[in-house]
């Protein structure tokens, strides 16, 4: 009895086609998660230690961060809003 090769060219082609690249911007954002997490923790720690900074964040998050030189992603901003609201 002849065994079918486990990976003939047609199947290999099918499998290679099945995994197209994800959009580069999505991949880049995911790669930068550790840096974003570090930045997030740093901002929250500052807000806990500095009432004026916290008040500025609550009043206008994006403007307060821009004044301090932060350029957080949308996702980081969302998480920051959640953490500020929960504290």
């Amino acid at each position: 009895m002849t065994r079918t090769p486990p990976f003939d060219e047609e199947r290999l082609a099918q499998f290679l086609r099945a995994l197209p690249p994800a959009p580069e911007a999505w991949v880049e954002a995911a790669r930068e998660l550790p840096l974003a997490r570090t930045e997030l923790d740093e901002i929250v720690a500052r807000a806990e230690a500095d009432a004026a900074f916290r008040a500025a964040l609550v009043a206008d998050l994006e403007a307060a961060l821009a004044r301090e030189g932060y350029e957080p992603s949308e996702r980081t901003l969302d998480e920051l809003r959640e953490r500020l609201a929960s504290e």
Binding site: P5, P6, F7, D8, E9, L12, A13, Q14, F15, L16, R17, A18, L19, P20, P21, A22, P23, W26, V27, A29, A30, R31, L33, P34, L35, R37, R75
Partner: protein, 179 residues
């Protein structure tokens, strides 16, 4: 050993130790898999798929310490993505339905194909770079012989034979893994 050829378990260990390059490799290794599950198996819109994609990697990053078996990274990411896709579909559904009712028909077959495709992709990652490039451009990126030739500085008339040779190398690599 380069990060690309590092087994999943060792990659996880490096990520836990705070190695950012290892994390980037983990994202590279699984980004197509997560994307394909969301877009092809679950047929989510680009917007929903992007949310699932980012949420998936955020949870992986947060919960790496809780992964009990480091070799189970791939099934863990697969299950997590599937769960997030179902949650996304549930948000859009007005009726109370089971997970199975929310999943598109044929999702099990699609996931099984994607799992095999990831195995093939892992084998591709250890081939010579020119083979990775040519096979990826032709099959996954759907580029023409002419575009591939232009990008790689090769005569377009030689692309078909190069693809064939690289597929043979890929098959040998896979058969070497599963004799």
């Amino acid at each position: 050993m380069s990060l690309v050829s590092l087994p999943d378990a060792q990659l996880v260990a490096r990520c836990r130790a705070g190695d950012q390059a290892a994390w980037a490799e983990l994202v590279n290794r699984f980004s197509r898999y997560v994307y394909a599950i969301a877009v092809h198996a679950f047929r989510l819109s680009e917007h929903d798929a992007e949310d699932v994609f980012q949420e998936c990697f955020a949870r992986v990053y947060q919960n790496l310490d809780r992964l009990r078996d480091d070799q189970a990274l791939r099934p863990w990411i697969g299950q997590l993505t599937r769960r997030l896709c179902i949650d996304r579909l549930r948000l859009a559904s007005r009726e109370q339905v089971t997970d199975e009712e929310l999943e598109p028909p044929g999702v099990e077959d699609s996931l099984s194909t994607l799992d095999e495709a990831l195995t093939v992709h892992e084998a591709l990652a250890v081939l010579p770079e020119n083979c990775q490039e040519i096979l990826d451009r032709f099959f996954a990126r759907d580029e023409s012989y002419r575009d591939i030739g232009d990008a790689l500085g090769l005569p377009s008339g030689t692309i078909a034979s190069r693809i064939s040779r690289c597929l043979s190398k890929l098959r040998s690599e896979l058969e070497g893994r599963n004799p």
